[in-house]
């Protein structure tokens, strides 16, 4: 048994290292053929690992040694950043993927757990971004506070939609957020104070006098300034992930699941449906807004074209691809959806067509997503057994 546990641990560490190596190679790949070959190897490796039971051992090892797993994963992420320390473009992409993850975690909380439709993820992301742009341009609010301010703004504007969202059901509820998404974009395009279609410039972020838009030099190695934002985005993602996971694993998550699966039954058992829907909707929008604020400060520029209905659909593709309600699926799915078209310039033009086709195929043949959400496992001892 003990030996088994140790090999499981070795398997999980090897798994994390392999994934990190794969990500590094994929990001490094210059030619499209190399990338395609790498992707084929990756897919084959994943399939092989699942077949031979290796994936299961990796997972068992991770569950048995959560702390080791955590540190090894952190080290792996740091290694990826270290390898690309000088590459602006790659680091910008990595940070964008992380921020999209934050939004999609929020969407998972809303749609995946509580069943509250939200077709306006990009709009709430945009509310955060524009809030950050206005605050950073016109006030001297410390930038570290601008991030939560963006989140609060998105949550507040989201609360205006609460009444119609709560009173309506199904398709009617979907329309509320769709209408909001379209309205938001049209409003930005025609509103001159917010820059109209050209958008607004945003100054770079400074934290306590430290300018994040300047490259960093640690022990003689210089980092691109985007490394700062990657670190910040990673911290944000980690916080969102931990929070969402805690909610999911608590009685709150249980109540939300009950609300999603059967409102009437949940109400019969004394679950306050309205309360959970409000909670999920507000927390989800808070995530989206905070991520949007950081996005604005990072890219230094906001424009309506970044927050369209199409972008909301891309976010939904991420959570469908990753498996609705599965938090672990969000990061790989976001990486695939955002990085692939950037690295494969040939398909850049066709990316919306390909996403849409991929989502249709997944919904038809594997509706639970690439990485389906697991059933809850309960054990009364209070801790996970290996």
């Amino acid at each position: 048994m003990a030996k088994n546990l140790r090999t499981d641990l070795a398997a999980s560490i090897a798994g994390i290292v392999l994934i990190a190596a794969f990500v590094i190679f994929a990001l490094h790949a210059e030619s499209e053929t190399t990338l395609l070959v790498l992707l084929a190897i990756g897919a084959a490796g994943l399939a092989g690992a699942t077949r031979s039971g290796l994936a299961e051992r990796v997972e068992r090892g991770m569950r048995a040694h959560p702390i080791v797993t955590r540190w090894v994963s952190l080290a792996a992420c740091a290694a990826v950043v270290l390898v690309f320390r000088g590459d602006h473009f790659v680091l910008l992409l990595v940070a964008t993927v992380l921020l999209y993850c934050v939004v999609c975690l929020g969407l998972n909380l809303q749609i995946g757990y509580c069943g509250v439709m939200n077709f306006a993820g990009a709009a709430f992301f945009g509310v955060g971004a524009y809030t950050a742009a206005v605050l950073a341009n016109h006030t001297s609010l410390p930038h570290l506070l601008v991030l939560p301010a963006g989140g609060v703004a998105a949550a507040t504007i989201g609360s205006l939609l609460l009444l119609p969202v709560l009173r309506t059901r199904g398709h009617y509820a979907a329309l509320v957020t769709i209408a909001f998404g379209i309205l938001f974009r049209s409003f930005l395009e025609v509103n001159d104070t917010l820059g109209g279609p050209q958008g607004l410039k945003v100054p770079g972020m400074t934290i306590l006098g430290w300018d994040l838009s300047e490259g960093l030099t640690v022990f003689g190695t210089s980092f691109s300034f985007y490394a700062n934002y990657v670190a910040l985005a990673f911290a944000l993602m980690l916080a969102a992930f931990v929070l969402t996971r805690r909610i999911n694993r608590s009685w709150m998550g249980l109540s939300m699941d009950a609300v999603r699966i059967d409102e009437t039954a949940a109400a019969t058992f004394g679950i306050h449906i309205v309360r959970w829907k409000i909670t999920a909707f507000i927390i989800g929008n808070l995530f989206a807004g905070t991520a949007g604020a950081l996005f604005a400060l990072m890219t230094g520029f906001v424009a309506p074209a970044n927050f369209t209905f199409g972008d909301s659909l891309v976010m939904l593709s991420v959570i469908v691809l990753g498996g609705i309600g599965n938090l672990w699926g969000v990061l790989p799915a976001a990486a695939i959806v955002l990085l692939l078209p950037e690295k494969l310039q040939a398909i850049q033009e066709y990316r919306f067509l390909l996403y849409a086709g991929a989502v249709i195929l997944i919904l038809l043949f594997r509706p639970q997503g690439m990485f389906p959400r697991r059933l809850r496992t309960f054990n009364l001892a209070g801790r996970d057994l290996p």
Binding site: P164, Y172, I178, A179, L183, S186, A265
Partner: protein
């Protein structure tokens, strides 16, 4: 502000209202029989207008023929092909996912719409730019004081209203309509009564998509150009119209369509802001209306059986 100015705007509103109502009727028909929203509806509309445009260009190659004949052929090809496409989407995607949650159906049809839209953009020659649409209708106009009445808009409004009337008669006076209403009321019981459920669903999706093609052609003729993105906005507007009218109710959809156009026009005429705010105001009104009447203006009171 004189009468002619207002009259012009009201007339524009009527024109828009007819197009919106036709799209909304499609949404409401689909919802009636299967309780689903088919969001690819708007892109089917765009595809309909592009098929019409391609047919016209093909006919021009063939040689001269009377404009009326051209119009007829363009119309037939576009409407028939979209009816078939609609039935195919229903057969292979929507019926297959009948037991899936509403979110899944909505998402898959949104994605089907994206596929259609992107295909037009990428594969139609120069598809990412607006394409000029031929004016197949007479182009005279009458001048009544400051009010200009274009003959083509008159024909468009009349034919749009005629089409809606036809659909109304089809639903209420024919055997097919009776079957559609039966399926809408209770699919299982309808099947027990010997109605071919699958066939009726396909027929309904065909009719709705034919309406979309018709609306697409009208949109093209009215604006004299078509664009791959036309359908997205029209779909959202048509969906909103169907929802504020009350999903599943044809009269609700018509009312919703005209109401949406009325709000847009009223914003342009009455409010001091730039006219580009018309969509912002209209969608705000949609959200407010939904908060006030969550099942639409002529919605049924729903009670849930457990």
């Amino acid at each position: 502000m004189d009468i002619a100015f207002i009259g012009q705007h009201v007339w524009n509103g009527v024109m828009l209202g007819v197009i919106y109502a036709m799209v909304a009727v499609g949404f409401t028909l689909f919802f009636g029989v299967l309780d689903v929203i088919k969001f690819s509806h708007g892109d089917v509309l765009t595809l309909g207008s592009f098929v019409g445009l391609t047919t016209f260009l093909g006919l021009q190659r063939l040689g001269d023929m009377p404009a009326l004949l051209q119009l007829g052929i363009v119309f037939l090809v576009s409407v028939a092909s979209m009816a078939i496409l609609g039935a195919l989407i229903a057969r292979f995607l929507i019926l297959r996912l009948r037991s899936a949650p509403a979110f899944i159906t909505l998402l898959i049809t949104l994605m089907v719409g994206t596929v259609i839209r992107e295909s037009i953009r990428l594969f139609y020659p120069n598809g990412s730019n607006p394409q000029p649409f031929p004016s197949l209708l007479p182009t005279q106009s009458w001048q009544l004081g400051g009010f200009t009445m274009r003959v083509d808009t008159l024909i468009l409004v009349a034919s749009g209203l005629g089409t809606i009337l036809l659909v109304h008669l089809l639903i209420n006076r024919t055997k097919l309509g009776l079957a559609i209403r039966a399926v809408a009321q209770d699919g299982e019981t309808a099947q027990v009564m010997g109605i071919n459920f699958r066939w009726i669903v396909l027929a309904t999706f065909g009719i709705g998509s034919a309406l979309a093609a018709m609306a697409g052609l009208m949109n093209g003729l009215y604006y004299s150009e078509v664009h791959f993105g036309n359908g997205t906005m029209l779909a959202v507007i048509g969906f909103s119209a169907a929802v504020i009218g009350g999903l599943g109710n044809i009269y609700g959809a018509i009312l919703g369509g005209f109401l949406f156009a009325a709000i847009q026009i009223a914003t342009v005429v009455a409010l001091p802001w730039p006219s580009a705010y018309k969509d912002v105001v209209a969608f705000c009104m949609v959200i407010v209306l939904l908060a006030v009447r969550p099942t639409g203006l002529i919605g049924e009171k729903t009670s849930e059986r457990v």
